[in-house]
Symmetry: C2
Subunit: 279 residues, 2 copies
């Protein structure tokens, strides 16, 4: 595995590479990221993973400064799963003037769900991913379903801006207790870590109700919210939506996703669960 830190090096390598599968990350890699790499390997001659903690997708008061930077350990993990290129640019490489001037602006979906409490977040994501796409020029790119709204926004971007890249969604990796793997789990105390699977448990409870034919989505959302708040969480949202499009789910919809964001202690966690009623 080569570790490259400049755009020029990456472009020089890209010229002689065949097909490329790309996994953009912010580092602090866990098994969720590694499952993206494994999927990537199946889909191209070479795999590029980027590690870049992207300032412009963090809001004021968010965790940009304390976001864990663990490049050495990350590189070891990537080496072991068979990555060809680790692209780890310094901030000045992607933002040489310190200021991004042109943004890829997503539609209204950017202001819903996680976007409601994180204004500008998805615009920061689409912009940096566009930049990385233009640098890496991948044939396919793998994104985890853990960040379901991000996946939806990026899938829409690729289609709407005619990017010649296939987006591959990859299933959520969970701990044996159900907790979705996330770099932000590292912020949790031991006690919180023990409590954290409650979020997924509420998603499972809603899914079970929906599968039984319950279409009173508002009540289901409210009950789960109340339950988590009583367990000491501060729920940001629990919403039942159409899969992929993320518009509000209707009782007639067959492909559904239940999305949740909630704060435990000082840590904001997200999770989601797809429900397919079509068979």
């Amino acid at each position: 595995m080569q570790i490259l830190s400049t755009i020029a090096e990456l472009r020089a390598w890209r010229k002689q590479a065949g097909t490329v599968a790309f996994v953009p990350t912010m580092g602090n890699l866990h098994n969720g990221h590694l499952s993206l790499v494994q999927e990537a390997r199946k889909n191209a001659d070479a795999v590029v993973v980027s590690i870049f903690v992207n300032r412009i997708q963090f809001g004021q008061g968010e965790d940009f400064d304390k976001y864990p930077r663990t490049l050495e350990q990350d590189a070891e993990k990537l080496q072991q799963v068979g990555v060809d290129i680790l692209f780890a640019p310094a901030e000045e490489e992607l933002y040489p003037t310190g200021k991004q001037l042109y943004f890829v602006e997503p539609p209204m979906l950017q202001n819903e769900l996680c976007g409601k409490s994180r204004p500008g977040h998805f615009r920061g994501v689409t912009t940096v991913v566009s930049k990385l796409f233009n640098i890496v020029q991948p044939n396919v790119a793998c994104f985890g379903k853990k960040d379901y709204q991000q996946l939806a926004v990026l899938t829409g971007m690729v289609q709407d801006l005619n990017m010649n890249i296939r987006i591959i969604p990859v299933a959520i990796e969970r701990a044996s207790n159900g907790l979705a793997l996330s770099s932000r789990n590292g912020y949790l105390t031991k006690e919180e870590l023990h409590q954290a699977p409650q979020l997924y448990q509420q998603l499972l409870a809603i899914a079970a109700e929906i599968k039984k034919g319950n279409t009173d989505y508002t009540t289901l959302e409210q009950k789960a919210t109340t339950a988590l708040n009583q367990q000491g969480w501060r729920v940001d949202y629990i919403e039942i939506r159409q899969a992929h499009s993320l518009v509000k789910a209707q009782p007639s919809d067959k492909e559904i996703v239940i999305l949740a964001a909630a704060v435990l202690g000082r840590t904001r966690l997200i999770d989601n669960l797809e429900v397919d009623l079509s068979h």
Copy 2:
């Protein structure tokens, strides 16, 4: 020359092409466009010209509906100058849902000069050019200096979003009387066509003063504005700016551009002139 109208055809052709130089146009081609093609030919194995009248860069009340569509004559001209691919998609090919959802948003420069009277214009340009770049995947792209602000905005976009494309600026083509070639000249009456070179004459007059050392830019702008208005024009702006960056010119600047937009009858014309004082 092949004429292609679908993205799929273009992508299939692109796979086996070598380096590509791209000239995006809205058709109704004149010698200005053909000089772009000639420059393109010098810079790549193959030349792609697109013809697409892009609805999202026209404002309400602008000339989208009456913009001249002359595909047959355009194709003949392109054939003669040695173009490989004419890409002429229908509107549904680039906007299949009828609505663009993701936009490439340029910085404040989009609201100055021509952007002041054409809100959303440059956003429409950057967005469609991004789409076309993603479809054609050119190595270089040629743009005329006639649309100087457009060239500046697109050059900034390519740099800021790390697009792997070299932008080649091409000098303005003028009629023997000095009038800058433009598809919109076709809207002019015979009488207006006779009068139209007055715009360029004012740019030349300002340039002569600047070369003499006159740095009272505001007065120069105002005098030219008054002169044109007295000749029956309605001046939108005449501004002396730094070349390339388009920030307000200072007396110490050596590379300058004088930009103008003015309405003659019912037709809005633009023109500009660079002044290099560095030698």
